[in-house]
Symmetry: C2
Subunit: 242 residues, 2 copies
């Protein structure tokens, strides 16, 4: 099965959580919008998908994954679908639901991280909501970020499988997503993260463990990995970093 | 199986999406925090769950559902679990993923509806972020609300099963959640919804169809249905209604 990933070509964004899973599993996939338009892909192919009124299950937003004729959207839903197929999720139903529950909590966290720089409207420029962003960033750094990361640290501590991974004794897509969240936060809030990270030793170790996995390390060193930038979910504005 | 729902007792909130599914299916369930503390339930039981360090799969937030020994959190995840058990979801995997994808899009919409009155910090009073709320409400009414409801209207229009329900020819938990979203928006933004609703005839018909279902009608008329109020997700502040 060759998977087709549809996502905006210039940012890591939510697509990155899917990319990391496909890369870790060495899955056969094409990142459609980053391929040439002359080969029938690129942005025109992405726009065709979004405008295709014949799709019975249309996505509200990207990323979307095409698997054969199936079009699946919502990042956590895509990972729910891919998990068992790429051997990146527990086999039993209870374990799969737990992985998905963690992924949905990560999704909530990501939305809040995004809204730090866009508290008023996602359609307005940052500069048009900078004053409000400063207020929201203060709450995010002091209240929300420690609350979320404290929770995930506790999940590692409670893991009866030893705490090397979020769930049991094996890596899952949740570990890859947790890595990405920590990478994004460290990019966006370097001062806040440097000050706080000693509180979360298990998460820091998980971050390093994921980054050192051979396929992830190869991916991160490749041109397939886009750099963080000020168009993505995680943005570095020094005035929001306290 | 007797299900135990753990949710804050004074609001509909995200718990309501689970309640509607349990009610439509006439499931055996207890709304723990609304039962008496002297019977071992009520708020003390809810706090015990949240503080229980022996839970291997702790919830980050409520609602949580207890099914036997399993504790499941994240509203959409609870519905993913309950769907097949209560016959409220398609049977095939592709259909279940589609139902879940719609539910996750509803979850995103709900978060945005909440952030209209709390754009800066969920931990601050509305009055402390009223100015920012007015700006965000403008964007929500003009851009986001029409975008989301236009999408859901289109899903009904594309449904090859006839468009009486969101998916196929049978009601699912997604229809119940869609009803709740429309009820909440009509409470919070009566002027905006009255002005706009002619754009979404299929959604209005779905809303009425769900409300007329015998078990839902009985539930809505019962004391189990809490009224909307200014502590929930959907809040009526006239200054945010344009």
């Amino acid at each position: 099965m060759r998977y087709e990933l549809y996502y905006w070509p210039g940012i890591q964004g939510r697509g990155e959580f899917v990319r990391l899973a496909l890369e870790e599993a060495a899955a056969d996939y094409v990142d459609i919008a980053r391929m040439p338009a002359r080969a029938g892909m690129g942005m025109p192919a992405l726009m065709r998908l979004l405008e295709d009124t014949a799709i019975g299950h249309p996505p509200f937003a990207l990323p979307a994954l095409k698997a054969g004729k199936q079009v699946i959207a919502q990042t956590a839903n895509i990972l729910l679908f891919l998990g068992p197929r790429l051997d990146l999720a527990p086999k039993a139903e209870a374990g799969r639901l737990w992985a998905h529950q963690l992924q949905l909590t990560i999704a909530d966290f990501i939305s809040e991280a995004h809204d730090v720089h866009h508290p008023i409207a996602s359609g307005l420029y940052y500069e048009a909501q900078k004053r409000e962003a400063k207020r929201r960033a203060q709450d995010f750094r002091v209240e929300r970020l420690p609350k979320f990361l404290g929770y995930f640290e506790d999940v590692l501590a409670r893991n009866a499988g030893g705490g090397n991974f979020m769930i049991g004794r094996r890596r899952s897509y949740v570990d890859l997503s947790m890595f990405q969240v920590l990478a994004g936060l460290s990019y966006a809030f370097p001062r806040a993260m440097a000050r706080l990270k000693s509180r979360w030793p298990r998460l820091v170790a998980l971050y390093q463990r994921v980054m050192a996995r051979p396929r992830i390390a190869a991916y991160l060193a490749s041109s397939r990995r886009l750099p963080f930038n000020p168009q993505g979910i995680f943005r570095h504005y020094p005035e929001l970093d306290g």
